[in-house]
Amino acid sequence: MHVPDGFLDAPTSIATGVVAAAGVGLALRKARTELDDRTAPMAGLVAAFVFAGQMINFPVGAGTSGHLLGGALAAVLVGPWTAMLCISVVLLVQGLFMADGGLTALGTNITLMAIVGVVVGYGVFRLALGVLPRRPGSVPLAAAAGALVSVPAAASVFSLLFAIGGTADIAPAKVLTAMVGWHLVIGIGEAVITGLVVSAVIASRPDLVRGARGYAGRRSHLQSEGVGA
């Protein structure tokens, strides 16, 4: 999913770079409302967690594997703005130090995974929470729904970018079908793991799941007293 250099032409890469810079700039300001002066260490550690989570591959079929993208997961756990920052920083570090994702494609990657992935993932999560019955068990389900939609959503935005500035002459419909079909499968894995992880965290430290505020409030007080020291 990490777009390398040369996949999209220079104008498209620069345009997505501007979008990414604006998104990250906004997230930098808004994340302070979620974390205040804890932003730097907390977002840094959550970014390290997302990076570690992305190292786990799961089989997708036909001998290939996908890995967790973590946009929806991070958004549910720490809030959308912090999640946007964390995923952007993960992509920056991967691009600068590991050549995973091209530097000219950094804007594209941030736009797709940090902005589209998080916004869609969190939006669907909120919508699903509104529809599902109001009890703690609904939070992991809603998180899974967010993850399920966020991955193919990012894939379709990629297909759109590829139709505008792609460097290979492939029919846009073909790209869209292949990308969305493939990422639906990855999205299912993402959804199952996201839901299970959120439910595991709710079981032990519900106070740490930002998206579950107001759903599991009673247990949180006792738990954080006991483990937080």
Binding site: P4, G6, A48, F51, L96, V192
Partner: protein
């Protein structure tokens, strides 16, 4: 970076390339990859020139290719994609004979596109790895700061890099513990166990962040890092 261990992707050295200011190296790298991406893919000799340029810098930095090449596996999935392009691209098709009397129908423009993808992608990966190999992570951060990347973003990157090895080896120990109990983390059958592991990893990372923040506050942190701590 205070810790005594180097980063996995950094190759220690004292060459001209190692000593060059990080912000200049980042700018040169950005200019280079932008140039590569903007170059029309039919200009074959120019790509040869680019490759010679990168390899020249690698030689100047005395980073062995043995060190860089294994790290280039990062682009393998993408090379596989590039190999598919000639089969699915539009445009005029040409027949290519392969061993055993088989004939492949490939798109001509697709072949050209695949060449462009492979050439540009590989140059980008090689150039980025060269920056990483010749520049300490702390130096890269200082360079980014000098290039006016927002301070908060640089701080978050700094914390991520500082604790990356701690968190990933935390996960590695958890996975070892899972395997020793007969659980295969990759298998969907064992996803519930994997998810509990990841949940525990999140809680540990989050709590570590809280402790780091308290430790920083007790040392007078006011939203900015002191210069010598970077």
């Amino acid at each position: 970076m205070g810790a005594g261990h180097g980063h996995r992707l950094h190759f220690h050295g004292h060459s001209v390339v190692h000593r060059a200011p990080a912000h200049l190296k980042i700018l040169v790298l950005l200019g280079f990859v932008l140039g590569v991406v903007a170059t029309p893919r039919e200009w074959y000799p120019v790509f040869g020139g680019y490759l010679a340029l990168v390899l020249g810098v690698v030689v100047l930095a005395r980073v062995p290719l043995r060190y860089l090449l294994p790290r280039m596996v990062i682009e393998v999935p993408f090379l596989l994609f590039a190999a598919l392009v000639p089969f699915v691209a539009e445009g005029e098709r040409i027949a290519v004979h392969v061993v055993g009397g088989w004939e492949l129908s490939l798109s001509e423009s697709g072949l050209l596109a695949a060449w462009g993808l492979v050439a540009k992608g590989t140059l980008g990966v090689l150039a980025s790895l060269t920056l990483a190999a010749t520049t300490e992570p702390a130096e890269v951060l200082r360079g980014l700061q000098r290039l006016r990347l927002p301070d908060l973003l640089v701080q978050i990157m700094g914390f991520m890099i500082r604790y990356l090895d701690v968190v990933t080896s935390d996960l590695a120990r958890m996975l070892t513990a899972m395997r020793s109990r007969g659980v295969d983390p990759r298998s969907p059958r064992h996803w519930p166990a994997l998810a509990r592991t990841l949940g525990a990893l999140f809680v540990r990372s989050y709590e570590r962040g809280e402790r780091v923040h308290l430790a920083m506050l007790s040392r007078g942190y006011d939203g900015r890092l002191p210069e010598e701590a970077r």
